[in-house]
């Protein structure tokens, strides 16, 4: 089981959970399991072609999966997957 950390803006689509334990041997499988459990997250994470949206980055521990094997990046028990969306607030 790996832990997926849900960022504040997306918690509303994940029954307010800030982290969820999921099974899967790759990042893609883990995220698929996550979005099966919380279908509302799907459209916020993936575009219509099923690709991860470009304002959302996914990290395994401290490394961006774009520089690993993307969706095919292997995960082990105890790994932490972070979903990091862009946020803009500051002057407000």
């Amino acid at each position: 089981m790996a832990k997926i950390l849900i960022p504040t803006p997306l918690r509303q689509y994940a029954e307010k959970n800030n982290s969820v334990e999921v099974s899967g041997s790759t990042v893609g499988e883990a995220l698929a399991n996550l979005t099966t459990q919380f279908p509302d997250l799907r459209k916020n994470l993936y575009n219509d072609e099923g690709k991860l949206r470009s304002f959302v980055n996914v990290y395994v521990n401290d490394e961006d999966i774009r520089y690993l094997q993307k969706d095919a990046t292997a995960i082990a028990d105890g790994d932490t997957i972070s979903i990091v969306p862009s946020i803009a607030g500051g002057r407000c």
Binding site: P9, D62, S86, G89, G90, R91
Partner: protein, 375 residues
């Protein structure tokens, strides 16, 4: 050289070998631009002023609202309704009268960004929307200036330094903005009032470290702060070899369009055009307005309207920062075409009262003063 007054004021810096006299002189010589004087900008501006950063520029066009005071500690209750840059300047001058504060009361845009940013060493992005964040990134990449970045939402903050020598830029992290409506803003989602204090001071710390050349700058690392969990985490940021910043293709664009924000139908408070006769009536009535001639100097030599100021169209974007965005403007050229473009430049920079004189100086000669030669 530090003055005796400065030596006394900064003594707690001077006795630390990591700063010392040399470091304090670096702070004094530094020019830092703070974009936004809201939640993040407030603590950054106050602490950088206190630390003795010699020149601090402020960019904001907003006024203080009562709902700002829950977090924007540079403004007080007495400042409600005041321009944020004026209120910020007042607080900073009270903290430290020895520094130089430059106010830019404009909405940063593709037309004015490079001109405003170019005179500063370090930029601190404390804005609140995606179009401006991409604009600041691209301008910093083009000008080779480090962008000390932070953003906040509810209980969470992000901070890093973009566009530092050899480091990643904002587009390396996020090539594209989210479609409008998918990510809520602070105004919709709320923000813990204390959060921008913590995150803004992470920004201020990085600014001071960059100036001093001390420690490990937050380059290539994205710091995430969760106030509820009281946890800091760090993620690796890499320069994306396919990013525009790596392929040399960065140029300033229409960022509202890029972020999918529909063009606002311009609601000009005055009609966009004004006839030469109406302009003459304004001059005769000694109305308060600025008449700008956007023709070339050699055309100006041929004939001019006496009260006009010459700013050729090509120079207008550079001059925008010197103009008062709240004043009334009438622009003219020879026939009305170039001045219509000039009006767009001013409106895009946030100027509200801008009108184009229909038919230019040609029509002026026909309708008002035939002694002005037509050419």
């Amino acid at each position: 050289m530090l003055t005796q007054e400065e030596v006394s004021r900064y003594s707690r810096h001077l006795i630390m070998p990591e700063v010392g006299v040399a470091g304090q002189e670096k702070l004094k010589a530094a020019k830092v631009l703070l974009i936004g004087t809201g939640g993040l900008g407030a603590p950054v501006a106050m602490y950088l002023a206190a630390a003795g950063v010699g020149t601090i520029g402020l960019v904001d066009f907003d006024v203080v609202d009562v709902s700002n005071l829950q977090r924007q500690v540079i403004h007080g209750t007495k400042d409600i309704g005041k321009k944020k840059i004026d209120s910020a300047e007042e607080t900073m001058r009270d903290i430290n009268p020895l520094i130089n504060i430059i106010k830019h009361e404009v909405a940063l845009s593709s037309a004015n960004a490079l001109e405003i940013l170019k005179d500063y060493d370090i930029i601190a992005d404390g804005t609140d929307n995606f179009p401006t964040r991409f604009l600041i990134n691209d301008a910093c990449v083009l000008l080779n200036k480090p962008n000390v970045y932070a953003s906040i939402f509810r209980f969470e903050g992000q901070a890093t330094i973009f566009a530092a020598e050899g480091g990643p830029c904002y587009r390396c992290l996020y090539p594209e903005p989210p479609p409008p409506g998918l990510v809520p803003s602070c105004a919709e989602g709320g923000v813990l009032g204390i959060l921008p204090g913590v995150v803004g001071l992470l920004q201020a710390t990085e600014v001071v470290k960059l100036i001093l050349g001390a420690g490990e700058p937050l380059v290539g690392r994205l710091l995430l702060y969760d106030a509820l969990a009281m946890k800091f985490r760090e993620l690796k940021l890499r320069k994306n070899p396919e990013c525009l910043c790596a392929t040399g293709q960065v140029k300033l664009i229409d960022y509202e369009q890029f972020c999918g924000i529909p063009k606002q139908p311009e609601p000009p408070p005055m009609s966009a055009e004004i006839s030469p006769k109406e302009v003459k009536a304004l001059i005769d009535a000694k109305e308060n307005f600025v008449l700008i001639d956007v023709r070339e100097p050699h055309e100006f030599q041929i004939g001019r309207i006496p009260t006009s100021t010459l700013i050729p169209l090509g120079d207008l974007p550079k001059k925008v920062a010197e103009l008062d965005p709240n004043a009334n403007y009438v622009l003219h050229c020879k026939m009305g075409g170039r001045s219509a473009k000039g009006c767009d430049v001013l409106r895009q920079a946030g100027f509200k009262n801008v009108r184009n004189m229909t038919g230019g100086i040609s029509a002026w000669s026909d309708q008002v003063d035939p002694s002005v030669p037509k050419y």
